[in-house]
């Protein structure tokens, strides 16, 4: 009987012993894209280079943390003309602010592998609080984290001066990301 209980405990403890804390992003399977409207026309873009520091233990999601740093020079803004334009002072002012960063402060579990990532997004030197919904899909050795949120570009001064006219380029930018990660 005692042996049975021990066996049972061992079996129950096994998944925890094998539990993975995801810490390493797999760049090839990860993506950060965005979409905005220009004269009513949807335009897609993406960032090709970004680095993450992360720790996510499915058993303790509230303890998770993430830092994402995006190299703004790796932008695909829909056309080479727009790529060049985005570097300028009216947009990202990339020579002064070459990176966008997101640093998490708090993770809330919403159930069904859904989480709310709260933290600070800093663009063009302007830190703004963001709430980002993320869904987590466990895999054998790799987990994927998918998220999508809308940011208002003018909150960050992205597109100033003549570009502040939201009738031409919409204020809302839909950001979609997928971070694939392995752990240890």
């Amino acid at each position: 009987m005692r042996l049975t209980v021990l066996t049972l405990l061992a079996v129950l403890a096994a998944p925890a012993a094998h539990a993975v804390e995801y810490t390493t992003m797999l760049p090839k399977q990860s993506s950060i894209g965005f979409e905005f409207r220009q004269m009513g026309v949807p335009v897609k873009g993406s960032f090709k280079r970004f680095a993450t520091e992360m720790a996510f233990d499915p058993a303790r999601p509230e303890a998770a943390r993430a830092k994402i740093e995006i190299d703004l020079a790796s932008i695909d803004a829909g056309s080479s003309e727009a790529d060049d334009e985005s570097a300028g002072k009216l947009w990202f002012n990339r020579s002064v602010y070459p990176k966008a960063t997101f640093v998490s402060r708090e993770v809330r579990a919403l159930g069904n592998n859904r989480f709310e990532l709260r933290g600070t997004l800093t663009l063009k030197g302007k830190p703004r609080d963001m709430v980002i919904p993320v869904s987590y899909a466990p895999g054998r050795n790799t987990a994927t984290f998918d998220g999508s949120f809308v940011l208002k570009r003018l909150d960050f001064g992205i597109g100033e001066g003549m570009w502040a006219d939201v009738a031409t380029v919409a204020n809302e930018v839909q950001v979609k990301f997928r971070i694939a990660a392995t752990g240890k």
Partner: protein
């Protein structure tokens, strides 16, 4: 009994409406292409595309009209080679009025910008985004447009020559001036 040597009113309206749109879209296309990126440039591109889609729809209606109506006959003493040249020119003009908006629409898709008529009605992207193909189609669009320019000069020049030099009531055929009866 008199015969009116004049196109039907719908044909005349379509001719001048399309002439107006084409005469607006062509210089707009040449001008906007050279502009540095700005909100105004994005607006002009959209207006150009909206005009192009309008031309595309109007030419479909016009072709339907043309295929079901016989245009007024040319005066009997017009030389045979001129009749042939006229038929070929008109055929090519129709072809270009279809091919030019089509090439613009495809180019837009290939460059990754969907065409949305008046910012409201999206046209499907018939081809996927592909920068090389986009650049190729831009060249095609330009070449077709300059071919159109040449043909329009020929078309207008021939009409003016028949009207003013040969003193035939040619412009009345397209509704200019008083109705001419023979």
């Amino acid at each position: 009994m008199s015969t009116v040597t004049r196109y039907t009113t719908p044909a005349i309206v379509l001719h001048w409406l399309m002439a107006l749109l084409i005469f607006a879209a062509f210089p707009l296309g040449v001008y906007m292409h050279e502009l540095p990126l700005s909100p105004d440039k994005l607006k002009l591109y959209s207006y150009h595309k909206w005009i192009g889609v309008s031309v595309f729809l109007l030419v479909a209606i016009r072709l339907g009209w043309r295929l079901t109506h016989t245009p007024p006959a040319l005066p009997g003493d017009i030389a045979a080679w001129q009749r042939r040249a006229s038929a070929v020119t008109h055929g090519l003009l129709y072809l270009l009025m279809i091919a030019i908006p089509l090439s613009g629409w495809l180019m837009s898709s290939a460059k990754g910008f969907q065409t949305v008529w008046f910012g409201v009605l999206p046209l499907p992207d018939l081809i996927e985004k592909n920068r090389e193909l986009g650049d190729l189609l831009a060249g095609v669009h330009k070449a077709l447009n300059f071919t159109l320019l040449g043909l329009v000069i020929l078309h207008v020049g021939a009409a003016l020559k028949h009207h003013f030099i040969e003193r035939r009531p040619f412009l009345q055929r397209m509704g200019l001036g008083r109705k001419e009866r023979t």
